[in-house]
Amino acid sequence: MRRRAGNDRDLLGGTLDLLILRVVRAGPAHGLQIAESIEQKSDDVLLVEQGSLYPALHRLEERGWIEAEWGLSDTNRKAKFYSLTRAGRKHLAAEESRFTQLARAIARVLRST
């Protein structure tokens, strides 16, 4: 069965893209590293299905926010490394502040009453 594109985005409210961008800002990383990084940093709260990273990576690459290059992992295996582009960096900054505002607003609403 084919799932419609964007299911994961709906699930995470578009935050997966943001998380990926945030992870690769630290430096080039391959898919597995990105997945593990998200899991660890969220204390295993955000457990993504690892495959769902790839449509997101493709989308980000298509928009020019990240770029990919084949390289070798620590264990000398071939892997594709993603890094943030200049445009991606700008976008991430904007999104971060927007998301923080949004999160604060939601928290305020939840805290009231």
């Binding site: 898919g31 597995l32 299905e49 690892q50 449509p55 264990t75 295996r77 594709k80």
Partner: protein, 880 residues
């Protein structure tokens, strides 16, 4: 954008796939490191990763571009289908490549010569001055002007700027002591200004230099500058020896500059036009430019106003009215070249049409064979639209490949045409394959794909799926076979028209070829030399040159006889007015004239019919004599023998001492009583080179290069001897061309031969295509009716009966086409009418010949496929 293109998809998909595999592998590795057994590690990794296939599809969904995708799929499918039938595909593409190539080549000629604006600034302001003469109610126009007309327009028509061109051609250019043969053009001072092109270096010559007594100057073409002077920087200002006189080079024209009519010259010299000598006759051609602010109406008015003055050199005749007018330059030039181009374009278009018809017919046959496939696709839910689109895509791919290959064939085709036709049609050299022509070729390919793709596509869209799938096994004649038959009939009809045209041209060629030349053509070698040279300005110097070189030649063993003449038969001769000494001065008539040395008749083998030949006793100082030919006697001395009459034609009064046989020449005289045709007998006066004047020599040598003719059994040795004798006599004179008399005669027929060959090749192609068409129909019938014939033979019919009945179908198709083509030929042959000679357009022999040829071809094309029925095994045919 690039990564969205469908053909990049496979590579991209592989990349993603590899990436995901790498991810899994790394993950498994990590899990194993943490102490999880390999099998369990792989399972966990798969669970955590999810289904990679789903993710890949998700990514692809993001990239989809529906239209490109569909077309790409159709194209790939079409290529697969076409590759399955390589014979069909190759035939189709090769056919298209040939016809599109031929069309491209011919259209590039038509484009360059008829449609494209002239390569000068504001070309629509350029015009030629023409003379309109009405004689007894018959109007004729000519672009030839005399000196008075030129001066009248130059000085008294303010709205036009005029330049005239005189006879040019090969001359001797001496560079550092070496003579080379250069092509020169003699033009008046306004030439560069009127055309609007100024020299790239130096300057054009001025009015003072274009006057008698002005300093001798010349302007080089870019090619001549490169070829003869290795593009040296300091060429302007240098002096070269031209026609034996030092000329100063004052300028170099820009690269690519050609004369008005597209002919390439090496250099230009001032014409120094006047109203005497050359300017006393109609020897100039003009190009004029409308001055800024003036209108054509105004110019025409001014031309009418100077009429009196302009025609002052022309003898007034009561029944003739004359006028000057202008004709757009492009039109004037096109007029001289239109007819052959129109003929060739029509012929090549006809072949293109046949090729399209043939391909349409092939595609229809293919579509029939694929009825099952198409029906299956429709039954499985493929829309009619999709099927039509699929068939169109196939046609477009074939046409595209054919068009591409056609461009290549067109390139070589044009080169071939230019090589073949260059001698006769110098302007053809202007054509080239460029953007416009490529656009033509693409347009033609697109049109052809429509033409042959549409029919099967439409038929497929009307297909009755249920009936096609239940597989009705055909017996004779399905109703929907008729489109193919109509196509084949029209192919044959067009082919017949081309064959008739070829037949008429062939008959003309045979008529011209079988003319009695009037001299002994075997074992003759000729060489011509330009005597437009300051050292050969007098009768004495010229005759000395003639005598010395002839002495050298006759002293050479193996040379039977040798002579020099102004011209040779089968070429155009000098024409001149003459009158009898005892008649009124106003009554001059036109004749051809040729000077010769005494041995001319003997060397050429021209018989003396009455009177005597020139002898060694006739020379400078003795009473001037002349010979005339029989045509002259017939036209100008019908009532009494020409021998003994005294005539004046250039120079002194001469007595006619003999009448000689006629020789064939290219016509240069028209008018009542003159023979017309490609080669004719015209009135001719022969005079002796030793009995002419300096001014006569100077005048005729500006247009003609005298010809040395020798008769020898070994023509190869004779050629060498000729060249040696001339260059030993004067090492500074280059021998321009050494040709056998057969070569001269064959050159005279270049135009006829060329058109006959080209139209003939196209006609053969047309008939071959038509034969393939007939063959296809019959082969198809045979395949379709195997079962029926199986039954018939099983019931006692012989295989021969079957063959006869099938092939008669093809022959009757061809016969119908032949009748249609015959009818079509009646209007169509008007295109070749002006190229015919001594053949009626309705020539019964030609039509009969075409009918027989067609019958033979149609029979072969019909019987060959029908013969397969002989091998038919009835039992097997019935079982299948």
């Amino acid at each position: 954008m690039r990564r969205l293109l469908p053909w990049r998809r496979a590579a991209r998909e592989r990349d993603r796939d590899a990436e995901m595999r790498a991810h899994m592998a790394l993950f498994v590795e990590q899990l194993i490191e943490r102490g999880i057994p390999a099998g369990e590690a792989r399972r966990q990794a798969r669970v955590r990763f999810g289904n990679p296939r789903v993710r890949l599809e998700e990514i692809e969904d993001m990239n989809r571009m529906p239209i490109v995708e569909t077309i790409w799929r159709d194209a790939r499918y079409a290529i697969r289908v076409l590759a399955r039938t390589p014979a069909f595909t190759l035939t189709a593409v090769a056919t298209l490549a040939l016809v599109i190539g031929a069309t491209t080549a011919v259209l590039s000629l038509a484009d360059a010569l008829l449609w494209r604006p002239l390569p000068f600034p504001e070309p629509d302001k350029l015009a030629a001055i023409i003379r309109i003469e009405t004689r007894n109610g018959v109007t004729s126009t000519t672009p030839a002007l005399d000196g008075a007309m030129f001066e009248a327009v130059r000085d008294r028509v303010p709205s036009l700027d005029i330049a005239v061109m005189g006879g040019g051609g090969g001359i001797n250019l001496v560079l550092n002591g070496t003579p080379v043969y250069a092509r020169h053009s003699r033009v008046s001072e306004g030439f560069s200004r009127v055309l609007g092109v100024t020299p790239a270096r130096g300057r054009w010559f001025n009015a003072d230099e274009d006057r008698a007594g002005g300093s001798a100057v010349t302007v080089l073409s870019h090619q001549a500058w490169q070829r003869y002077f290795a593009a040296a920087e300091d060429v302007v200002g240098r002096t070269v020896l031209l026609r034996g006189e030092p000329h100063q080079i004052v300028g170099i024209m820009p690269a690519g500059f050609q004369s008005v009519d597209g002919v390439e010259f090496d250099l230009w010299v001032p014409l120094r036009a006047s109203t005497s000598g050359e300017g006393g006759g109609d020897n100039f051609w003009s190009v004029t430019r409308l001055k800024p602010g003036a209108s054509w109406t105004q110019a025409k008015g001014e031309l009418v106003a100077v009429r009196e003055d302009a025609f002052r050199l022309q003898r007034a005749r009561s029944n003739v009215t004359r006028d000057l007018s202008v004709q757009p330059m492009a039109e004037s030039l096109a007029e001289r070249v239109r007819e052959p181009i129109v003929l060739l374009s029509s012929a090549v278009m006809a072949v293109l049409l046949i090729a399209c018809v043939n391909l349409a017919s092939l595609m229809l046959a293919r579509a029939d064979g694929r009825t099952q496939e198409i029906a299956t696709r429709m039954a499985l839910g493929g829309g009619r639209r999709a099927v039509v689109r699929q068939l169109m895509v196939e046609a477009i791919i074939i046409a595209g490949a054919g068009g591409l290959a056609g461009l290549v064939t067109g390139y070589f085709g044009l080169q071939g045409l230019q090589t073949l036709g260059g001698q006769r049609f110098e302007q053809w050299s202007r054509a080239a394959i460029d953007g416009r022509v490529i656009a033509f070729a693409i347009g033609i390919s697109a049109l052809t794909s429509l033409a042959f793709g549409l029919a099967p596509a439409i038929r497929a869209s009307r297909l009755n799926v249920a009936r096609a799938l239940t597989g009705s096994r055909g017996v004779a004649g399905k109703a929907y076979r008729w489109p193919r038959r109509v196509l084949v009939i029209s192919e044959v009809a067009i082919g017949v028209v081309l064959l008739v045209a070829t037949g008429l041209l062939v008959r003309t060629f045979i008529n011209v070829r079988s003319l009695e030349p009037g001299f002994d053509r075997l074992n003759l070698v000729t060489a011509s030399v330009s005597l437009r040279d300051a050292r050969y300005n007098t009768t004495a110097s010229i005759n000395q040159f003639f005598d010395q070189s002839l002495q050298r030649l006759t002293a050479t063993p193996g040379i039977e006889s040798a002579a020099i003449s102004l011209e040779v038969p089968y070429e155009r001769l000098l024409n001149l007015g003459f009158r009898y000494a005892d008649e009124d001065a106003a009554d001059s008539s036109m004749t051809n004239l040729c000077y010769v040395t005494p041995g001319f008749l003997r060397a050429m083998g021209i018989p003396v019919k009455s009177g005597r030949d020139f002898s060694e006793q006739d020379r400078a100082g003795t009473p001037p004599v002349a010979l005339v030919n029989e045509a002259f006697q017939r036209m100008y001395s019908k009532d009494r023998p020409a021998i003994g009459r005294r005539i004046r034609a250039s120079g002194p009064e001469r007595e006619i001492v003999g009448v000689v046989g006629d020789v064939k020449v290219r016509p240069s005289l028209g008018g009542p009583g003159m023979e017309t045709g490609p080669l004719v007998s015209q009135p001719l006066i022969l005079i002796l080179a030793s009995q002419t004047t300096d001014s006569f020599f100077r005048l005729v040598h500006t247009w003609f290069t005298p010809v040395w003719t020798v008769r020898a059994r070994d023509t190869g040795a004779a050629s060498v001897a000729l060249t040696r004798a001339i260059s030993e006599t004067d090492p500074l004179i280059p021998v321009s061309s050494v040709r056998s008399m057969d070569g001269v005669m064959s050159e005279a027929l270049t135009e006829q031969r060329l058109l006959m060959t080209l139209v003939g090749v196209l006609a053969s192609a047309a008939i071959l295509l038509a034969a393939i068409g007939v063959h296809g129909v019959i082969a198809h019938t045979v395949a379709e009716r195997r079962r029926e014939f199986g039954i018939r033979i099983a019931l006692g019919a012989t295989a021969a009966d079957a063959v006869r009945s099938v092939s008669l179908g093809g022959i009757s198709l061809a016969a119908t086409g032949a009748v249609a083509g015959g009818l079509l030929s009646i209007p169509a042959t008007s295109l070749v009418r002006s190229f015919l000679w001594r053949v009626e357009v309705s020539d019964p022999w030609t039509y009969a010949g075409v009918a027989i040829a067609l019958l033979v071809v149609a029979t072969v094309a019909s019987v060959l496929p029908a013969l397969r029925l002989l091998r038919l095994n009835p039992a097997e045919a019935l079982r299948n």
